[in-house]
Symmetry: C3
Subunit: 280 residues, 3 copies
């Protein structure tokens, strides 16, 4: 059996020694481990961001992969450590809502509250606890050995968009802003289509209104015009992004110069994105 | 035969899940793959930057390495996907000029326009197309199987500096600004020397004039003076950098505090760098 | 014998091709090498930062690991290249003080001044020299072959905090600010306790005074209050951090929004941190 992959998703940043230390410790325990960075640039303590990143990347890894998520992971009476088996993947993190995005789609096969902590208080639990658990699982160990089974995890709020009683409006919110400044809502394609039932729609973000949801960014370009007559770059648009979330985007946006959906339209995390469905 | 290396050069940034997703997908197809990040911090959609980065790093990898370049890679009628074999390396990218810097030096052995796309439109072509092609090549597959041969790639402008009719002036431009704020021109040593023919010269950048091109940064230091009497740090200078491009630099520059060539001299991408050659 | 791990700690940044080039070169020489990034985001030319990062991460790697440190590494008459064996780890860097933090705790087994340089001047010594030395060591080569033994390395100043004559005051300084904006002093737990001898104390940073040093960040939270009545987030505190240095921290600090110890208290690199010990 080949060694399992261990992925890392943290808010350690790119500069500090934390991620390097974690890797050294894993290689010391498991010389043949394959460690993959998913992200170390989650905003500090930002649980919804981490939830979005891990839920959109975990399933591209092989079954059996072990995902270590180090965000707000200090152990205290309100923030316990958990390990999950779900969709044939393993997740090790704090019970702080990070897993609620994935768990709202797929029921975990097993959840344990980790209880291997020694008496020593640790300010670096990813190193002192999560790595030990990851190596245990990588060696073929079971979850039961390192924790006691629990039934449920802590949810995070505002994950699921609101639908009005008449079922003609979705009120979602911004959950992520990506490297291109594109603004991702919590409205996914499946949810949208279940409410839409084929009706036409309008998407509202602040004072902006959109009547089309594209499948890719360059669909907004009018290729019939010669390129010097086009003005598609920098124009707002709506797509279902590659993770199938409704996204307010700007074609070829760049936060550092021409501007992005976030900067040009003033859209921030937690802002409201509304979809109105028309009468047939 | 050992598994080929697959390198990644993208504008995905350090935070989002895109690079992690790509890696998961490659490991799912090729458990023994060796994936190396060259850069995920190319400025969004910045083709010249990507061209500079890949042209200065690819050849340090072993022959047979597969380079995936994910910059402005969405497929549309004006932006096709290509795969190249050149210098015994493989490159997979959009036909948007990224390869024109390398191809201006070395003629590709083979170029194909990729035609394995399904009917589904993709807003994440690096995942949906480039990874498939990379894994195909890594397994020993040929380019002919995944595309139809084409003769040439799309060039980018302003790559080659201009030389006046009298052959006593090179007019180049800034193509890259590095992590130290050093300002890299498109004038490489070979090109410079071919025009120079041994003559003395002056390098102009904005209102600054330089009469010496150094081989390393600390060559500007006057080691005969005691260190407290030196004022070399923060001083402008010209070097041929480690990639053999003429570079306006500042000794021990740091954009975040003491300043850099870019910040101190106000030099930006696309600014003009001129070299005048003297009469003998 | 498995191939040794080679770690990289540099100020190359995340964007440029330098780190990718280094990795390509190592894989070209040693196809089975395992390369681990510790950090490429050390501030340009910042030797104390690099010293802090490497001293807090190296020992988590297996014995025999080779650590390449590329900070201010251009060779000149005042900045020689060295290789060290210490604590069964190897280090390759410039003799500019980077190793003085580790060497103040552990005496090196062997130090050599590298003398394998060709006549060609190099502006990329990490590529042209350090990689060669790392591969030599990884293949089982000895330090004697690539350099001449020297007795000592160059120290950096201000590493060790000052203690007054009465032994009732430690005057330390800020040596690192981490990704969470927490402010790390040069006062480590062992040093602190040796002076403290069990006495009570007050820690001063600018106009702030602290009477407790915590072991983890959430120790400041009053879990007896209902969560809506707490105001622990954003509050200053002192901990011995996971590297055992005295640190001025803010619970759940984030430089980008709520603020951090550095931003909220105006604490910068080199600022003074004082500890006063009380009469018994």
């Amino acid at each position: 059996m080949p060694m399992a992959i261990i992925t890392l998703t943290t808010d350690f940043g790119e500069k500090d020694h934390y991620a390097g230390t974690i890797k050294g410790e894993i290689y010391s325990e498991l010389p043949d481990a394959k460690i993959v960075d998913i992200s170390h640039s989650v905003s500090p303590f930002n649980i919804p961001e981490a939830a979005y990143i891990i839920s959109n990347s975990y399933s591209s890894f092989p079954k059996g992969t072990i995902h270590v998520i180090g965000i707000d992971s200090e152990l205290n009476k309100e923030n316990k450590h958990i390990a999950l088996k779900l969709d044939d993947h393993y997740f090790i993190c704090a019970n702080n809502g990070i897993m609620s995005m994935i768990c709202s789609e797929i029921v975990p096969e097993k959840i344990v509250e980790i209880n291997i902590h020694d008496k020593i208080e640790s300010s670096f639990p990813v190193l002192d606890v999560f790595v030990k658990v990851a190596c245990h699982i990588a060696r073929g160990g079971t979850l039961e050995v390192i924790g006691k089974t629990i039934d449920d995890i802590k949810p995070i709020k505002n994950l699921i968009p609101f639908v009005n009683e008449e079922k003609n409006q979705i009120i979602g919110s911004v959950i992520y802003i990506d490297n291109y400044g594109n603004v991702v809502s919590n409205i996914n394609r499946k949810f949208f289509q279940a409410i839409q039932k084929g009706r036409s729609y309008e998407v509202y973000a602040r004072s902006y209104k959109f009547k089309t949801i594209f499948n890719k960014y360059s669909d907004i370009v009018n290729f019939d015009l010669p390129s010097e007559k086009r003005n598609d770059e920098g124009k707002g648009m709506v797509v279902f992004n590659s993770s199938n979330y409704l996204e307010i985007a700007v074609y070829k946006g760049n936060p550092d110069n021409v501007g992005s959906a976030s900067s040009l339209m003033g859209l921030q995390l937690l802002d409201t994105i509304t979809v109105n469905f028309m009468k047939d």
